[in-house]
Symmetry: C2
Subunit: 196 residues, 2 copies
């Protein structure tokens, strides 16, 4: 979650994602986003003429790109990459945050999905696209580690689903145990999918 100093527009998108993943879409106000980004309120309607919906959609898209890029970073950080190791790294990112910063925030894509799917079609599409840009590099990483192509997509879906659900349970319980449990139980299954 590097907050590199870009233009005010990008900062607002980033701040929106931060606030959405903590408070949900409904409880995140436009004024809050501008304040959190240190940006003038008047810039909101200038950069996002589509209103809150556009801002939320861009925040969701940003989160999807971020998650996708992390996959490559996790792969690069492992000397001998394995599917279970990759999933453990994905999970560890969340346990690290929760142990250092508390269980304040979840996944912005999940938050937007829960809050907007049945009211804002464009946000639903943005969420679907975000999951796609997350799953694609994940599935490619799996195939690169020897997982058959027709299986990689399914396992990527399983990994993301389990992670998202474990994030929710961990926040509810105020404990990282669901996250570590999911990583431990799923590890062998993922590694066994490789054809060696």
């Amino acid at each position: 979650m590097t907050g590199t100093e870009r233009g005010p527009r990008e900062r607002m998108v980033f701040s929106a994602a931060q606030l959405i993943r903590r408070d949900g879409v409904g409880a995140t106000g436009m004024r809050d986003v501008a304040a959190h980004a240190g940006a003038p309120r008047g810039s909101l309607q200038h950069y996002f003429p589509g209103g809150k919906e556009q801002l939320v959609n861009e925040a969701v898209a940003w989160a999807g790109r971020y998650a996708g890029k992390r996959i490559a970073r996790f792969m690069a950080g492992m000397s001998e990459p394995t599917p279970s190791g990759l999933f453990a790294a994905m999970v560890r990112q969340w346990t690290d945050e929760y142990e250092t910063a508390g269980f304040l925030s979840g996944c912005p894509v999940a938050a937007a999905t829960v809050d907007c799917v049945s009211s804002a079609p464009s946000t639903r599409e943005a969420a679907a696209a975000a999951f796609a840009t997350w799953r694609k590099p994940l599935a490619e990483a799996l195939t690169g580690m020897g997982v058959p192509a027709e299986r990689a997509g399914s396992l990527a879906t399983l990994m993301i689903s389990s992670l998202e659900g474990a994030i929710i349970m961990a926040r509810a319980e105020g404990d990282v145990r669901p996250l570590t449990t999911v990583a431990r139980e799923l590890g062998p299954l993922l590694d066994a999918a490789r054809e060696s």
Copy 2:
């Protein structure tokens, strides 16, 4: 989701759960709940002096009890119960709803978690309790099918996490595929956990 005709209080809790799982907590108003339940608006402050927070918490608790009871029903509906069959039944409940009624609604416990964890401590506790009353009978069902006790709890967490995550992905994509994928990929792992 049987709407048995009980008293107005129970109807309001039920309606709250329905609206929350569709629109999220923030977008669900008290007036909406009363209208949806066909209950007088004045009854809200009478039955729920704790305000919206109490209503949300009771809706979450109701959902937890409902999910827990469903486990026994799924078990009773299978001639030869297996862990994979139980999970498939849990998933099928959602695919059936989505294919007949559309992807309008998700899990109310997940919605409350996403929307309230970082703002309402009591709702966080209610969500944790709901997950507990869901996981407990699930773990017991697993042990009853031959899964070692120390493993059953972990697998129950894995099953709920995967299901919750798959629900979110399915709603985002407008497709039941994440749900069916998770059931298919997780089935063998669950059955293999039995000591026969």
